[in-house]
């Protein structure tokens, strides 16, 4: 029986729904899902109520570490807490979603536990009923690498790219283990605050739908055309580097090699020509739609669907049509 521990992220007492993807992925680390025991863990403050949601999506045992110092992310306190849970549960594999917190925490824990860490996997491979490795994009997605753990590796850790694993129906019954030990590693770094810029909006890296604009938008005000479309689609708005550099959009909206790497089900590129660096950041999108007046724009070479036309006319028409259809 293999043991997989899934670290589930919460912010402000709310569980990130992407955590369920990691729990489902845990069942795929073995060939026969009856041969794996999946536990979940969550760190935070006043988080007792989160156990049931985790069990409803497939976690058998749920470890909670409920301390004031864990209310917000603290690299040292979180590393110490997760390490203690690993020592307690002794898993073969530890998984989480490759969110900013997940990636940061797992790198530190892997170094502490001398574990093997594979980061940002878009698929996983099993061999002999144990997680062997997976596929990971490199060079901003220009190349896919098949990566794996060596024979020496006793503790296997991995972070999974959001939207790469389907959430399965795997209700479980089990216990909740409340971790009690106080943490000592809390002095050299302390959390001050989280600035709520666009707090409730879905981050680009986790968005299922994205409406993105290029320099052709011409102004910050014109991005409203994309926001209207995004609202109807329940999408997040992104931008190309050219649009950001021109001041039409914030850097946090930038999709591309020096911006964010996204993996949505639907990516709508409006007035984006498709520079190599932009495409590197969104190539793995399941369906890409391009709208551009230039039929030779490189973006059309990776688009599944496209319209050669002026975005200022096409996008509002699209928004209206979607409003009527959805």
């Amino acid at each position: 029986m293999k043991r997989v521990l899934v670290f589930c992220e919460q912010r402000s007492g709310n569980l990130k729904s992407s955590a369920y993807e990691a729990i489902s992925a845990a069942y795929q680390t073995v060939n026969d899902s009856s041969q794996v025991e999946v536990a979940a863990c969550v760190l935070g403050y006043k988080i007792e109520t989160l156990s049931e949601s985790l069990r409803s999506k497939g976690a058998k045992t749920v470890f909670t570490y409920d301390l004031d110092v864990l209310k917000n992310y603290n690299p040292l306190a979180y590393t110490e807490a997760l390490s203690k849970i690993i020592d307690e549960y002794k898993p073969d594999v530890v998984l989480t979603i490759a969110s900013p917190m997940g990636r940061d925490l797992f790198a530190r824990v892997a170094a502490r536990k001398k574990a093997g860490l594979l980061t940002d996997l878009i698929s996983i491979h099993t061999e002999g009923d144990l997680l062997k490795g997976g596929t990971k994009p490199m060079y901003a997605g220009k190349v896919l690498a098949e990566v794996s753990y060596t024979k020496n590796c006793s503790l296997r850790m991995a972070t999974l790219r959001p939207n790469s694993f389907k959430v399965l129906d795997k209700k479980q019954q089990g216990d909740t283990v409340s971790m009690k030990p106080s943490l000592s590693d809390t002095k050299s770094i302390s959390f001050n605050s989280l600035s709520e810029n666009e707090g409730t909006k879905v981050d680009l890296t986790e968005a299922l739908r994205i409406v993105s604009g290029g320099r052709s938008l011409g102004s910050r005000e014109n991005f409203k055309i994309l926001e209207d479309c995004a609202r109807v689609l329940g999408a997040t708005v992104g931008a190309s580097r050219a649009a950001v550099d021109s001041g039409y959009a914030d850097h946090s909206m930038q999709v591309g090699q020096t911006g964010k790497t996204v993996n949505p089900t639907l990516y709508l590129a409006c007035g984006i020509s498709g520079a190599i660096q932009h495409m590197a950041g969104m190539k793995t999108s399941k369906i890409i739609v391009a709208i551009n007046t230039d039929e030779d724009a490189p973006i059309f070479t990776i688009a599944d669907y496209g319209i050669v036309g002026d975005l200022f006319q096409v996008v509002p028409l699209l928004t209206k049509k979607l409003q009527a259809t959805l």
């Binding site: 900013p100 170094a111 980061t119 946090s252 319209i307």
Partner: protein, 263 residues
């Protein structure tokens, strides 16, 4: 203040990445190399500290082959004081943890007050080194840093997370900070800087100089890259053109609904 900046060289962002015919390695012939873009922000941050405290020392550190000297010279031309290359010939293969062990050993020998590096290498996109090096040194770290406020004995550091949000931390020294794009604007090396760079100390070290054993390091590898492949080529898309806009939009929505099933 003694500052170490970790540096790596990577292919230019415009580069087309090729794979060898057996799929086991990347074909690096003809590739142009640059300083990993995020490391430039790290160098600049160190130099800005030096601007304010001229007695500070900025040391560039890289685990690489001899070709990294070109990149080191650029960093020295920007204003760094000296450079150290740890020769990478002895290990056939390396992973993040092994690399971090090597860098940590070199850092310990120098005993700096702060270590800067880029938040990730644009080759592996791992974001491991800033974090793992800090853990091995038992120092605090903050990665993806877009702002630093320097106080008497501590730093107030901003870290960019999802949703455009920013986490603020107070960190004591020594610490490791991973630079993000908006931290500063890297300076250009002036001509005088380029001339001076060639005269600045450039040291080469081996693993045994750092008290490390190549065999032990090689056998403690935890992860490996088995092969590479190019992403699957997409089937040609359906691009609508030349028709009435209304018609094209209707067709698009229909396809997205019934064929692609994304609506």
């Amino acid at each position: 203040m003694k500052i170490i900046v970790l540096l790596k060289q990577t292919p230019d962002t415009e580069a087309q990445i090729k794979i060898t015919s057996d799929g086991k390695n990347l074909d690096t012939t003809g590739l142009k190399y640059i300083i990993n873009p995020y490391d430039e922000y790290a160098i600049e941050e160190a130099l800005q500290i030096k601007d304010k405290n001229p007695s500070s020392e900025v040391i560039l550190l890289s685990y690489a082959d001899d070709s990294v000297k070109e990149r080191m010279l650029k960093g020295l031309a920007m204003g760094a004081d000296r450079a150290i290359q740890i020769k990478n010939e002895e290990l056939k293969e390396i992973d993040s943890l092994t690399l971090s062990n090597i860098l940590a050993a070199a850092i310990q020998k120098e005993n700096p007050d702060i270590v800067f590096c880029g938040k990730q290498g644009i080759d592996d996109d791992n974001m491991h080194v800033p974090v793992m090096v800090a853990e091995l040194l038992a120092w605090p770290h903050v990665n993806v840093v877009n702002k630093i406020e320097y106080k008497e004995k501590e730093l107030v550091v901003s870290r960019e997370v999802e949703g455009g949000q920013v986490e603020s931390f107070t960190v004591s020294l020594p610490c490791v900070l991973g630079a993000h794009k908006s931290l500063n604007t890297p300076r250009y090396a002036a001509l005088t800087g380029i001339m001076k760079a060639k005269k600045k100390p450039f040291e080469q070290k081996t693993l045994s100089d750092l008290g490390l054993n190549a065999l032990t390091l090689q056998s403690s590898l935890q992860t490996t890259v088995d092969s590479y492949k190019l992403p699957p080529k997409k089937l040609e898309g359906k691009i609508f053109k030349g028709e009435e806009l209304h018609t094209m939009v209707d067709k698009l929505v229909e396809h997205l609904r019934t064929e692609a099933k994304v609506l």
